[in-house]
């Protein structure tokens, strides 16, 4: 077992005891990347190995010991480009570090590279990257999920020890589920968004994708906390989420929303759900059926709100600044030609949808109504959490689908997020942990907790992970094509 297959907390222990060196760890990571990333294509850009090693050594005495972390390429990182998977930003080198990157560096992490994503985090398969799709390490014909598909695939393929992603409607949890890793979306506001290139500001949250629950707790402890640079950030400083991990969940009441299990799940998937229930019962929890009655409106509500915010957030990419100025005929022409060339089809689709939702005369009917439904969905959860401590669902209705399978059918693609979107709309913390297989592919379990109850969430996820058994089988080593790899991949 290569050192790259170990979790962060294991490696910290090995380094402390002198049983492994940073050089060996980084060596194993780069070997895995060289072997596999030609076919998986998780990375858009990779750190120079020697520079990384030097930085790692300089941080060896800090809590994270210089261990390298991969960062989704919509998080501002000095020294790398931050492309957001878009032609618009293919050459964009940010002049500042996102708050999460600052915090990671301060804790002694180093930055391994920038991972692929759907353009501006819009998508559920990483096929919307303007550069190339990322493939699922468990089956190269299949997608890794999205939009944090690069981060999930890198962790699953052991091309990264851990990674950061961003989740707007499921973009951490769904790819974590499809790649068989742990993915945590914190409470909205717990982790600073400063430096995260905005998709939908009222929903976006940064979180970790890791090999196990303890690593998720470890990284969350580092990146969480009030940031004066983000007015929507909330207090959560100095919480060590790893401390209470092992305290068990005896007496917890866990709710299963009947609306989630109604349709669209295969028998095999339902069988997994039954196994999960049995495990939670064994752990001393009580399972209850609950109702979240407005669930069916979550997807349209989400697409209206997220697209409306995105239409404004992406307005700055206009050809006046950044790359991709396509014409200078006239100002009008500069805008339309630049944006036509700079954005891919999915981004254009959402800008159109969002612009329409905000238009005079339609605002109340679309955006206004979506905001009211959002409140109802939030209230559904508030009511549910009066009778249960946690909500349990599958993370995604299906395991990884094939590349190209849903590209032509955006609605089918959007339904990949049907279980993850409600918690996003409600701003609640949620985690996806590996929950066995469906059709020979990883299938994830999602737990949702009340506002700021990350401690409870992680405790339950940890208990499940331990009871469920060892990590799922290592991904089948991707065979096939091997081609010359560039040190800097990407556009």
């Amino acid at each position: 077992m290569g050192l790259n297959e170990r979790s962060l907390h294991e490696l910290i222990g090995l380094l402390e005891r002198g049983e492994a060196s940073l050089e060996e760890i980084i060596h194993d990571l780069y070997r895995a990347i060289e072997e596999k990333d030609n076919s998986i294509r998780a990375y858009l850009e990779l750190a120079d190995r020697e520079e990384l090693l030097a930085q790692a050594r300089a941080n060896a005495s800090k809590p994270l010991r210089g261990l390298p972390i991969a960062i989704k390429d919509n998080i501002s990182t000095v020294g790398f480009r931050t492309t957001c998977g878009s032609r618009f930003l293919r050459d964009f080198e940010p002049i500042y570090d996102a708050t999460v990157v600052k915090r990671l560096k301060a804790a002694g992490a180093t930055i391994l590279g920038k991972t692929n994503l759907d353009e501006f985090a819009m998508g559920s398969s990483t096929e919307n990257s303007a550069f190339f799709p990322t493939r699922n390490p468990h089956d190269l014909e299949r997608v890794p999920g999205g939009s944090s598909g690069g981060s999930a695939a890198a962790v699953a393929a052991h091309e990264a020890l851990a990674a950061l992603g961003s989740d707007t409607g499921g973009s951490i949890r769904q790819p974590a589920a499809l790649c068989g890793v742990v993915g945590l979306k914190p409470t909205y506001g717990l982790v600073s968004r400063y430096g995260l290139v905005a998709f939908a500001s009222s929903l976006d949250q940064i979180g970790p994708l890791t090999k196990d629950v303890r690593d998720a707790a470890l990284l969350l402890s580092i990146i969480a906390g009030r940031d004066p640079l983000d007015s929507t950030s909330i207090d959560g400083d100095n919480v060590d989420y790893t401390r209470e991990l092992g305290e068990g969940i005896r007496g917890f009441r866990i709710g299963l929303p009947r609306e989630y299990l109604r349709e669209g799940l295969s028998e095999e998937a339902l069988a997994r759900v039954e196994e999960w229930k049995a495990i939670f019962k064994d752990l001393g929890a009580e399972l209850r059926e609950i109702s979240l009655p407005h669930t069916e409106y979550a997807i349209p509500t989400y697409y209206l709100i997220a697209s409306a915010e995105a239409s404004a957030n992406l307005a700055r990419f206009d050809g006046v600044r950044y790359t991709s100025r396509a014409s200078e005929e006239s100002l009008e022409e500069l805008y339309s030609a630049s944006r036509d060339r700079g954005f891919g089809p999915e981004v254009k689709r959402r800008i159109m949808l969002g612009t329409y939702a905000l238009a005079a005369g339609y605002y109340e009917q679309w955006y206004g109504k979506a905001q009211r439904v959002r409140r109802l969905i939030k209230e559904d959860f508030e009511r549910a959490f009066q009778e249960v401590e946690l909500v349990l669902t599958p993370t995604s209705p299906t395991p990884a689908f094939k590349l190209g399978e849903r590209v032509a059918d955006p609605l089918q693609m959007y339904l990949s997020d049907v279980y993850t979107v409600p918690a996003s709309l409600a701003g609640l913390p949620a985690i996806s942990v590996p929950g066995g297989e469906v059709g020979g592919l990883p299938f994830g379990l999602q737990l949702i907790a009340p506002h700021l109850q990350e401690g409870r969430l992680l405790r339950a996820a940890y208990a499940f992970e331990r009871a469920f058994g060892p990590r799922p089988a290592r991904p089948r080593a991707p065979g096939g094509r091997r081609s010359q790899r560039r040190a800097r991949t990407g556009p």
Partner: protein, 466 residues
Amino acid sequence: METVIGLEIHVQLKTETKLFCGCLADSAGPPNSRTCPVCLGMPGALPVPNKRAVELAIRAALAFHCAVHASSTFARKNYFYPDLPKGYQISQYDEPLASGGWLELEGRRIGLRRLHLEEDAAKLVHTEDGRTLVDFNRAGVPLIEIVTAPEIRSPKEARALLQAVRRTLRYIGVSDCDMEEGQLRCDANISLRQEGSRAGTRTEIKNLNSLKALEEALAYEEARQRALLEAGEEVEQQTLTWDAAAGRTIPIRSKEEAEDYRYFPEPDLPPLLIGSEWLDEIRRGLPELPEARRRRWRAEYGLPEYDIEVLTEEREIADYFEAVVRLYPRPKEVSNWMMTELLRLAKEGEIRLGPADFAQILRLVGEGKLNRAAGKGLLEEAFRTGRSPEELLAERDLLQISDAAELSGAVSAVLAENPQAVADYRGGREQALSFLLGQVMRKTEGKADPKLARALLLERLGPNRT
């Protein structure tokens, strides 16, 4: 036909830093030197409100008697333009900081609709070779927008209202309102209506950035609309710009081309909550406003209206006046001296003469220890040098000679030296007395009490023939 005018006034707040970041708001540095990821709208950057800007906006709202809302929201105003770094402006829309309120104009109240906070855009610089450059120093500088009700009845009144806004905002330290610097900008809506009927179609004139442009553009537009209506034609709803050189308005947009700004609540900023304690604190910190001060002065000092207007125009001057009056309670005299002497000198530079010193000069003159001319000389010197009048007096022996014995020597000498003038006076030439008096003043280096000198001269000369 009745003229209906409403103004939208943008005012730059006098803060050290910008509205949503820590960059300096002075826009003085070289182009793009006052910038950071936030005001450049770089991907991933987020706004954080400037408390001082909120405080100044509240001050303004209170001064205009607006209702300041306990909770208001920021909103995004979406449009594309190269001076707009994010592709939207952070402003306020359906829940502004304050609403209602009024301004008093010659005893008449003009209503205000709202007052809200927003960020300024960048500045476009057009080069001679036809390129356009963007300077982001101004991007994100805090502004308030004040919208009046359509209750202004003439271009002249519009001008007076803008002046009143400027006066008040300067008074309370919210803005310097330097129109040449773009710190006070104004758009105007104007329509005509038949007496008592509904308002007619209105036009909007953009960027009226001087009092003169405001009044002239409105007068032009008023005449243009009247001519159209009287000819039985219709006024088209348009956005116009004022061509000052040509003296006419030029259409820039019709109603059909009006932009849809797709306002929606700014998700990067939580609602702006203003606690009643903070509000009270700001209220307590407000100085007496110009209108209230004028009313009080009328009652307390009985000054002429013109004096009141001039002396209350700026807060520093009004404060100065009151400080002097406290020490030397003859308001009219203080006012005369300030209007003729101090304000003239104040144009040259900062007033370095304290109210106490000023009052002392007045007292010396009032008590006859210093004649008027010497008093003015002393004032001027103290103003220019910043030295105290006492010091100057001691140095210069300027005190008036008001002792008859001391003065009679000079009078005798002058009479002896000017026999022709004496004869002229006695022969009936009244003007000869002024000449002789002048000579006495000259001989005493201006220190003679002119009244006493005149009396002594008359006594010695005896009655003339007339």
